[in-house]
Subunit: 400 residues, 3 copies
């Protein structure tokens, strides 16, 4: 165990000014650069400890509630991994099984599930205008419950994907970039192309592209967003990205050409999403349980999507990037041409070249979530991490 | 950490004569007053330790099986919280997923799931005459398995709601009353009105009102049960309540008037339920999988319910109570007029005034369940609690 | 705690030559006799420690992924028990809920769920030719992920039942036989009759009879497989059994008579299964989602099954066995005539006489799974077991 590496991380954390304690993690742009840096550093410290078989359990017991209002494998396992690593047991709030399905109010349920909870992870990305708002509503109920003595502790909320942002994904992506490029400093002036890509499926949420343009503009990168006409994102997030770029000394540009975005890019992130307007209509139809309307909307959208099959990350397009060697990124699962679908977001050969990199990218997510929990739950993250290292309790008893 | 408060609780436990060790918790009226007192006290001790960040883990490993034969959010999370607090991991026995659905006998399954189990929590409240009986059948199978060396330990059964009683709810309610009124002693001569209330839904189990009249008559309270004609409870439980009241020096009265019951009440518990006879018919139809019959029964019942919309806990009715300030109680979720339904059990303004109190009422449930486990699993509960306090291991590593 | 018994087990383990570390457990016939013996011994040591209230936690945190592609109660709980006993938290990979249902590749998912996983238990027995192959595909993905630095640890795969073998069942059966007969040595020359039996249901997997003939032929037993004409097993496994018997000094015989197989048998294992050819056709129909074809196949099979209702383990047939007292075995749940079905695999009175024995047989499964995990994850199993015993940390704090 190379303690110097660990000590360097801790010393960096100590040099930051953060106000993460007692706060939920709902949008990256509500956090300061120092707070984002601390999240990365705590994730790195936890990864270091675990890799060196040092126990990272900060809890002797406690519950982590996972509230998934949409399907999930990756994020579900990442949240479970993060909780487990810290000593928190995961309890699923399955709204199908539970009485929430019977019209119970959010406020009440938030308290009922939280008597022993230290963290609540929520995924709610289906309804435009509702997901992030739901998380805040839960947060207010927890604030009241804690203040009024109903809850002995105030569990931290972690946004596991909403209609606006996907902070655990974008922060894992940033951790990956930091590792691949050596430092956050090295990302300055690097060009990242966040582009739409063709997919044979429909209704993919906007949170990933929005999360990427909202976060990568914070560290002086040149962010270029490209999509076919009509595939815009939430206007407010576009404004956030613009303001971020200005503040960080980077740039933010929108185009309607994948080729233009790829040109000289250091990093490319081609990924499908549904147009903002479609997601709005879809939300209305879902609320009205208008299945026929949803079917019709899907047909129209897929027909429209099909006009843009050339928005594929091919070998030819990769040649346009910096030295033809831009780093390819994806939140997974990707629609891979000839592998998982006939025609998709990325050519089989391109994906295969970066496949293990996308796995490494994903591998940061449990640590990012754990870091968000630690920062929100412990006033002095550096200190508790040092205690873990000093105690040097093994995670696995003896490997030999 | 105010150790004196804790020591007082422990000393009270030591003064009681209980025979809870090795016994299941199936009906409150099978327990002596001392045993009920011990359950409350152990719950208070556990709450004290946890609030003071002292680890309450009595188990290093072990499983808690949750067997929910009806939907549940609150009780499911309460059981999980109780187990987690003690160091027991929850495993759901999902009879949909499992081979029990294929005709396997209760006896066999009880053993198959219990090789490493320390506790089994069962909710089975749909079938009149069957829920509590099922729990006893499981208990007998566990007795045999343990005696015959199949099971290394005999897991304790906790009744998480059956057709007859809902002991974890009524005991949590009693813990709440003890806290609100200062002591069990102070409850003597207090009037509690357990009344039916209108709800737009149907088929609510009888276990809550039965649990309340079966328990609150144990401590010298004046218990008044009120319901519209035809909404009676299981006759045997009525007899239990009568006998309890006689023995404890309290009283038990039945009326058909919500107003009469509310008059001068110190506590009101207005809650909907389905008539005993309807639950009986429903059980037959459910067993016969007669969906048409169930639909018809529902229609008839809802029409009948609608005749009693005036059975609502309104501000006017609250004025009839002692000083207009009776404590409102509910097991949640309540059908709140203008909030969760058009017309329901309780007026919005009344509920809102007591909302946080109902949350506090519910917050006792995890501790009550944990106390039931501890008392059944440990011969000397006071001693193991003292050991926890002496060791003073933190639940959360360091909060600063 | 009789330490001598434990020390004897440890000393036996030390005398074996095994290469289980870092290997998955997919088929018993891929393991040497010493490796199988070590699996039994480690299971016995773990059982000894737990029975004596000694903590068996080798992990401070970590995940055990359970991937059940078919219904299960027993094996699901056995896997959860094994993980819990070692300190590993179970996470279900529910492919209905997860995005795997959306066409995601096995390779990717295997990595995505494994960032913090120490073990993956897989049940995949529905598709002939696919289950075991799927496990190997997952294993290769994990090998790559670990080698390439995606995964910090390589989780061990445990086969919880596939199309070919059911090693956790057959090894639990062997542990039971070792206990009932005193030693593996005592099993030499004993006759075991693995026979088909009539069942009113259809499509039961072949993995149990295949697992039994593939394992029991390893230790010098006389194994007789009997089934009605047309109810054959996978030919390759028959070859394995033949070769095993030759190598171990036992024998392997196939007949078409239950009576002949039972004659002078020391052990009988009557259990229904679907013919190999039917399972093949069924696999094709399942893949094609040909529900009509599946219905027709079921009808044909049940009609065919009905010709062999006399393949029942009756009192009369039991009289044919050695002294009329052969040990009856079953993996459970059995189709018991007059109990769980009208006409089934075994007479009610025969089953009842051996019922508790079948429970004891099943009780080995959690320990066998835990042993497979320990042997695969720890280079020196004897040493880590000794450490557990030396530390002598209680599983349950104090029972008195």
């Amino acid at each position: 165990m190379d303690k110097k590496k660990f000590e360097k991380i801790i010393s960096e954390i100590k040099g930051l000014k953060s106000d993460l304690f007692g706060k939920d993690f709902l949008l990256t742009w509500e956090k300061t650069p120092d707070e984002l840096k601390q999240t990365l550093l705590v994730a790195e410290a936890l990864k270091f400890l675990r890799t060196n078989n040092v126990s990272t359990k900060l809890y002797d017991s406690g519950l982590g509630i996972s509230n998934f209002r949409d399907n999930s494998t990756r994020t579900r396992f990442s949240f479970a991994s993060a909780c487990n690593m810290l000593g928190i047991e995961v309890m699923d709030l399955d709204e199908g099984k539970s009485q929430i399905a019977h019209g119970e109010t959010v406020r009440e349920t938030a308290n009922m599930i939280s008597f022993m909870a230290d963290v609540i992870g929520i995924r709610d990305d289906m309804y435009l205008g509702a997901g992030n708002a739901y998380m805040r509503e839960v947060g207010e109920a927890l604030d009241e419950g804690h203040k009024e003595g109903v809850l002995e502790q105030r569990p931290s909320i972690v946004n596991l994907q909403c209609d606006i942002d996907h902070p655990t994904q974008s922060m894992a992506d940033l951790a990956h970039l930091k590792q691949m490029f050596g430092s956050l400093e090295n990302l300055k002036g690097k060009k990242i192309a966040m582009t739409w890509a063709y997919s044979p499926s429909y209704g993919k949420p906007l949170s990933v592209p929005q999360g990427i343009i909202g976060l990568m503009t914070r560290f002086g990168m040149d962010v270029e967003l490209a999509f076919p006409e009509g595939y815009g994102l939430i206007p407010e997030v576009i404004e956030v990205a613009k303001a971020n770029a200005k503040a960080s000394g980077g740039s933010f540009k929108i185009s309607n050409s994948m080729e233009e975005a790829f040109k000289d890019a250091d990093i490319v992130y081609p990924k499908s999403w549904a147009p903002f307007e479609v997601m709005g209509k879809r939300t209305e139809l879902l609320r009205a349980k208008d299945m026929k309307g949803l079917d019709e909307l899907e047909k129209v959208c897929l027909t429209n999507n099909a006009k843009f099959k050339n928005w594929e990350c091919t070998e030819e397009k990769m040649k346009l990037t910096k030295g033809g060697k831009a780093l390819y990124m994806h939140c997974l699962p990707a629609d891979i041409t000839g592998v998982s679908c006939k025609e998709g977001e990325v050519a089989g050969s391109v994906f295969e070249r970066y496949r293990l990199d996308t796995y490494r990218e994903a591998s940061w997510k449990p640590y990012i979530i754990a870091a968000m929990i630690v920062n929100s739950q412990f006033e002095d993250a550096a200190k508790v991490l040092e205690k873990l290292a000093d105690k040097d309790k093994s995670r696995v008893k003896t490997k030999k």
